[in-house]
């Protein structure tokens, strides 16, 4: 009886584990195949000309330079606003904030900011930056919109990195006569830097790949030249992929896959850099 019981339990466990394994395989295999599929399909289209030339013939020929440059501009613009603000907010939460209701409210606000649909950010950017502040559809308006969207990612990751710096580091610095800011600037920030950097890159990665927030704040369908100032609209890789896959008839399929490939190389490249930074810092860490 007892023996029978235990065989039964073993069979249940074996079946259950196989079932879970199958689920994990069904989840993971499509991820790998999506990436491989785009590399295989888009690879032949990507050449030096493709990434360095202007598009012509109604975007059906030539390169995608303005979209690449535009995405780089938007990513830098987003970083300019969101990195200092996000890190400062994280420093406040980790080093200064008292444990009270207001701080809890800040946390709830951050969680909500992270959950707001990207298209709602687009509406907000249109209402505040484009129309109310009269920036127009511009790199500036789009970067500001993307910054606010990126902020919760940068704050959460940076706060976690700052908190993981052991408390004695601070105590020692203060006891040696360092002020609070000196302690943060010279001791805590350098130790937390890799973690902060990882968070920043992950946040900017999200900004670089987003389309909806820039739809009405700064994205241009087609521009014959590169944007000249922050008040110009710009082409961007994700929006360009949307345009050529839905709005332009008779678009050569290779150009579409090529654009998708450049976009995921850009975005996943940042993701991989972030992962490497994190694991290197973990390996080096002496505490």
């Amino acid at each position: 009886m007892k023996r029978f019981f235990s065989i039964d339990r073993d069979i249940v466990q074996r079946l259950g584990f196989s079932f879970l394994t199958i689920m994990a395989v069904v989840t993971v295999v499509p991820i790998i195949s999506v990436v491989i599929y785009i590399i295989v399909q888009g690879g032949p289209a990507v050449s030096w000309e493709f990434i360095s030339a202007m598009p012509h013939d109604g975007m059906r020929a030539g390169g995608i330079l303005p979209a690449i440059i535009g995405t780089i501009y938007l990513t830098i613009g987003t970083a300019v606003f969101s990195v200092p603000l996000g890190i400062a907010a994280a420093i406040y939460l980790s080093e200064y904030a008292p444990d009270n209701r207001l701080t809890q409210l800040i946390r709830v606000a951050i969680i909500n900011l992270a959950g707001i649909p990207s298209v709602v950010y687009g509406l907000f950017g249109l209402g505040l930056f484009v129309l109310f502040l009269k920036f127009g559809t511009s790199i500036l308006a789009a970067s500001l919109t993307l910054s606010i969207m990126t902020l919760p990612v940068i704050i959460s990751a940076s706060e976690e990195a700052l908190r993981s710096v052991p408390q004695p580091f601070r105590t020692v610095s203060i006891s040696l006569g360092g002020t609070r800011w000196q302690t943060i600037r010279r001791i805590v920030l350098p130790e937390a830097l890799p973690g902060i950097l990882t968070g920043v890159i992950l946040g900017l990665e999200r900004a670089a790949g987003e389309t909806a927030p820039i739809l009405f704040t700064g994205a241009a369908f087609f521009l014959p030249r590169l944007p000249g100032s922050v008040f110009d609209a710009t082409m961007a890789l994700p929006y360009h992929l949307f345009v050529i896959s839905t709005q332009v008839p008779e678009m050569p399929i290779q150009i579409q896959y090529g654009t998708a490939l450049v976009l995921i190389v850009f975005v996943l490249g940042m993701n991989i850099i972030a992962t490497v930074v994190r694991s290197r810092a973990r390996a080096k860490r002496q505490w």
Binding site: R9, A88, L268, N271
Partner: protein, 298 residues
Amino acid sequence: MKKSLTWREYVITRAIKVSGYSAIVFVGLIFFFLLREGLPVFGEVPISTLFNTRWYPIEEYYGILPLITGSLIVTIGAALVAIPFGIGTAVYIAEVSPRWMREVLKPLVELLGGLPSVVLGFLGILVLSPYLRVLLDLPTGLSALAGALLLGGIAIPTIVSIAEDALDAVPRSYREGAWALGATRWQTIWRVTFPAAKSGVLTAIMLGVGRAIGETMTVMMVTGNAPVLAILPGSILSPVRTMTATIAAEMGEVASGSVHYHVLFFIGMVLFLISLIVNIAASSVVFRSKKRAERILS
């Protein structure tokens, strides 16, 4: 020298404190601008028109029910895909797979979370929907089903990542206790570990599904964008249009300040409130269970 240092320190400390409150300011600003541009709708469109079943802005039909049902059916479909596979994968990674595999699988799943949604929409148009059309013999593959499958894929990384963290955070002693009492690993997972991580898993589901409701580009590209009422389960096979896709598709073409413009902001307001409710509910689950855990441990 000493004085200038403290003066600098004062300014920096102030700046840091102000930045600390920025998240609250931005949530407030977003809500304010949505209200500012969305509320005028009540003076311009009768409520009976707004909550009607016909969305045809050119002839001033602003019924948002088809858009709400469109969002609902796609989101429910996505949840049906994402919850079992997300949780199954999370349990597999946390409890079944060896440690080295966890180090490979988790970043890989999170990689999918980093894929731009426009890329998934693009593959949806070129690969998934033609396949669905042939497989299910549909007039068009651009349907709620295609949207639900891709949105499921978008929600899965969120669910896996957070649920796996929650399972991983269950103290090892819980498992050891169960094993010592003679439970198998399988029994331990479902009777001990999983119930202990329940609130974290619930948070994972809410945030994953919340992400699916708000997703824009993918659904705009693959659901066919037909604003028809989708209340029958069979509607999953027909084209629908979601709230997010409507805003994204139409905002570029409306004059600012027009009725149509205000209606689109009103839809944005509804989306904002939905995400607010989902996120506050999700975080309160975490807060409450943390408090309970503190009570038990003290």
